[in-house]
Symmetry: C2
Subunit: 354 residues, 2 copies
């Protein structure tokens, strides 16, 4: 009986049947009209982001279970909200599915999505299921933000400290271990698993926001007060979904500034120190991508307060300077100074935000 069910295909139950199966993942009071209705808090701005994921391009049964594909898709969108300073309100899920796809695959995809979403109290509020020759997943996430707390790429100013949360390079290392298990032969089981988990189950850093707002309240920080009173944003930033180098370059471009990064300050997984050559570790951390951490530019005082609060969970990796380049500096002189660019280093095939 169970095996019968697990081999059931989308065409066996049709879009309507699949719809009924998936309704258990959605709040019942929201479903069943032409569109979903959500309450927003007074005075909040709406934040919207969208991602399209295609089978064989953005996920693959070779390295990704349907649960992990679902988790990662949800996490990527929640991370975009976090990067704007926004709290999630809900997501919609558009699915294009071949008739031959197993129903259980779709249910497992939704299982993974909702596991991630539930952690951040975010409902699936609607969607659309259509037939398509190729499995396609289109997610739109929306959230709300206090207009004074919007985190934009364009708000970095000379003198800002650059803070990164978490570690960088773990997701890329996890992907390599999935593709080439032999690379992990010198790793402990727990180390290997931790890196793979970083790839399969990235955590959007919505947890950083309340800490950030607490640190940036006017009473706690004079620099921040000055910034607000000059009607500038409190903070600039984005997420590191496309890599740490990409994030810093994008912020500098949007803000019309330069940055200097200090090699040694970039937090990498501890495992890297005894596993990877220094250059490889640097490559993964700068260009690996999909760590979904936050890269924030803010005045020194609150930057220090944030890092103090987060302990090993964040680091100041450099500073914003005048100009239009991103310079990587190595205090230890292992590497010569180099200007980072998007065409350099690893660039994975990725989606383009409009």
């Amino acid at each position: 009986m169970n095996s019968d069910l697990s081999s059931q295909q989308v065409k066996d139950i049709g879009e309507q049947g699949l719809l009924e199966r998936l309704q258990r993942f959605c709040p019942p009071e929201i479903i069943g009209d032409d569109a979903a209705v959500l309450e927003t808090a007074p005075g909040q701005s709406l934040v919207v982001t969208t991602d399209v994921l295609v089978d064989g391009v953005h996920f693959s049964n070779l390295t990704t279970s349907p649960e992990d594909a679902g988790w990662r898709a949800a996490a990527a969108n929640l991370s975009d909200l976090a990067a704007m300073g926004a709290s999630p309100l809900g997501i919609t899920v558009g699915l294009g599915l071949p008739g031959e796809l197993r129903v259980s695959w779709v249910e497992r995809l939704y299982q993974g999505m909702t596991e991630c979403l539930q952690k951040y109290n975010t409902p699936i509020v609607g969607g659309d299921i259509v037939r398509s020759p190729i499995t396609t997943l289109a997610i739109t996430a929306f959230g709300q933000v206090n207009p004074n707390q919007i985190i934009r790429r364009s708000a970095a100013v000379v003198g800002d400290a650059i803070v990164v949360t978490g570690v960088h390079g773990a997701s890329r290392a996890g992907l390599e271990l999935l593709l080439h298990p032999e690379l992990g032969q010198n790793l402990k089981d727990a180390e290997r698993k931790a890196l793979i988990l970083a790839h399969q189950r990235p955590q959007p850093r919505l947890d950083i926001l309340p800490i950030l707002w607490k640190i940036l309240t006017p009473n706690s920080c004079t620099d921040a007060i000055n910034r607000v009173s000059n009607s500038r944003s409190l903070i600039a930033g984005m997420d590191s979904s496309d890599g740490l180098a990409d994030a810093i370059i994008q912020i500098c471009r949007a803000s019309g500034v330069s940055a200097v990064l200090e090699c040694r300050q970039i937090p990498v997984p501890k495992t890297f120190n005894h596993w990877l050559p220094a250059e490889q570790a640097l490559e993964y951390s700068l260009y690996g991508g999909e760590d979904f951490e936050l890269v924030l530019c803010l005045p020194q005082e609150p930057a220090l307060a944030l890092v103090q609060h987060l302990g090993e969970g964040a680091a100041i990796v450099g500073k914003i300077t005048a100009g239009s380049t991103v310079l990587l500096h190595d205090e230890q002189k292992k590497f010569p100074d180099q200007v980072l660019s998007l065409s350099q280093g690893f660039q994975h095939f990725k989606s383009q935000k409009l």
Copy 2:
């Protein structure tokens, strides 16, 4: 030079290049962050709807130019907002594109989308472009609505009049004329063009909403006051994107009521009277779909006021009764009474809303 440009493929300029080309269709102040930020009016609820459209399933170069595909996709989503009583705030567009697709096709798609959106002051606020073996278009539209003015399917009550806007069957007739031009040989050129235009450029009925709210203001209608004071919705309804029969059946299901429709009252294009046999005209009007009109259930008094206001632009086609069936009645006795169901009549392959 022009022909060079028009033969350019997506892979020639890449996702980044395409992105730059398409930015002119979007408001510049919104683009360039991890997500778009939009202002919502105080006290308004957020309304969200999403559609996925796949080449060969939902649009085809045989019957639809890229401009029309874009217009229709935008119109369908705006119609979902209108059906909820919501004013549009913006849409996001997710695109999956084969490398071989012409850049000019994508630009023409955006041209058609923005032509429709501009009519309703709605910006494209973001999107995502990815490579895919099949052209796929995922649109999410969001709008806002006064919580007291949400139009739900589930709010119809016994005694309500059923009002439809516009005419039904025109879009289906237009599609038939595109597929089988010989069917139009007895039509005047203007008649044929009008039906084809109804298919290619459907108009979401956002224009109805302000008229509706004016008619339903407490001072103008005692029934409406009673309804509000009983904390019930003012009005029930949905759009007729999947056909008039479908809309009335869905409303009755969601509201736990019956309906009786009067054949003669269903407004069809005037052309039908001298062009189609009565049964064919009825089939098109009930099951044709994609007319994107509104089907509204409201007390007799405001229903009459609405129809009076709209003149030939609306009609009362029946009433809500107790029970759980939708009965089609023919005063002229040309057809026997029949119970309408979704499995009966023409059912086009359509997307399923979650």
